[in-house]
């Protein structure tokens, strides 16, 4: 015969499962993987003297300004591509779960992330280019952590990783500690280098962290297979 404690135990199970079921992953693992690769390409291959955005702007403004605006424009394009890819995968996942695309989870995530992302966008115009990646990491990390009440643990870890890395790199000059000048030598000293410190940070940190998050999440992803014949 069920006792009160037995009923309480069952209610506890129900509450715990309900909470699990309402977890919302605002950054799809597949989108993170694609975004990570895009960041790696944009920051690694399309940087310095190979940056098409800086080149395009150089003809119409001072080279110092072209470097700043070209950098911002390039990463804005990468951001928009990543948002597009993320929305595509979120929509696909929502369809698979039989939920509307703009689900209560998505609304909660947007509400939670909004203030930190908006602040990050505003301060982009205030800081010098060499300091932007650190600020983006900090505000992006804060935005992810804002979803902590309903985000999976892997996403919360990603938020902390961005926040701590951004803070550390805001205090410590990573260019010296990463040994970039030794590892990324200039093939032609007469020309500007084919890399910049901010681009390298974006490629290594934004690209690298997203790829790690994606691979860890995808490895644990459930298989979408039919049940075995009983």
């Amino acid at each position: 015969m069920p006792q009160s404690s037995d009923a309480e135990e069952h209610l506890r199970i129900i509450r715990s499962l309900m909470e699990k079921a309402t977890i919302y992953r605002a950054i799809s693992a597949q989108a993170a993987l694609i975004g990570g690769v895009l960041a790696g390409l944009a920051g690694g291959l399309l940087a310095g003297r190979n940056d098409p955005f800086v080149k395009a702007l150089s003809s119409s403004m001072l080279s110092a300004n072209a470097e700043v605006y070209g950098f911002q424009l390039k990463w804005l394009v990468v951001l928009l591509l990543c948002i597009g890819v993320n929305l595509f995968f979120l929509q696909r996942d929502a369809k698979r779960r039989g939920e509307p695309f703009v689900s209560p989870g998505m609304r909660a995530a947007l509400n939670a992330m909004g203030p930190a992302l908006f602040t990050g966008a505003v301060v982009t115009s205030l800081w010098a280019r060499d300091f932007l990646p650190q600020m983006w990491m900090i505000f992006y990390g804060l935005a992810i952590l804002s979803t902590g009440h309903f985000a999976p643990k892997s996403l919360i870890r990603l938020g902390w990783a961005f926040l701590f890395t951004g803070l550390i790199l805001a205090i410590v000059n990573g260019e010296t500690y990463m040994g970039l000048r030794e590892h990324l030598p200039d093939s032609n000293p007469q020309e500007p280098p084919a890399w910049t410190y901010p681009d390298t940070l974006m490629a290594r940190i934004f690209g690298g962290y997203h790829i790690i998050y994606a691979l860890r999440t995808l490895r644990r992803a459930p298989a979408t297979v039919a049940p075995p014949a009983a």
Partner: protein
């Protein structure tokens, strides 16, 4: 004294209670998602789902997307049974505390 016979025995089993709870929280669940969330073996999950399906609490949809996929959802009868079950549990707790 509370009448414990009011408790739905089909739902009261912990494995099936887990399935019913997840299905009550989200419209549809694939077999793979249920398996991961409930950490059940294939055989166990299939058995419980079959019981719930035969009772009329759970509907099954089989479709071919990228690959064959089976999804499960609560029927109206299942949702009503789950709500009734919750009410009974709450009454048991209240009776126990009172």
């Amino acid at each position: 004294m509370f009448d414990f016979e009011k408790l739905d025995k089909t739902i009261h089993e912990k494995g099936r209670l887990g399935i019913m709870t997840l299905l009550a929280a989200r419209p549809t669940w694939t077999f793979g998602d249920l398996k991961v969330e409930l950490k059940m073996s294939d055989g166990n999950l299939v058995t419980h789902l079959r019981t719930l399906h035969q009772t009329g609490y759970v509907s099954v949809t089989k479709e071919i997307l990228d690959r064959p996929q089976t999804s499960y959802a609560l029927t109206e009868r299942g949702r009503k049974a789950f709500q009734d079950y919750l009410s009974v549990l709450e009454q048991i707790v209240k009776t126990g505390r009172g």
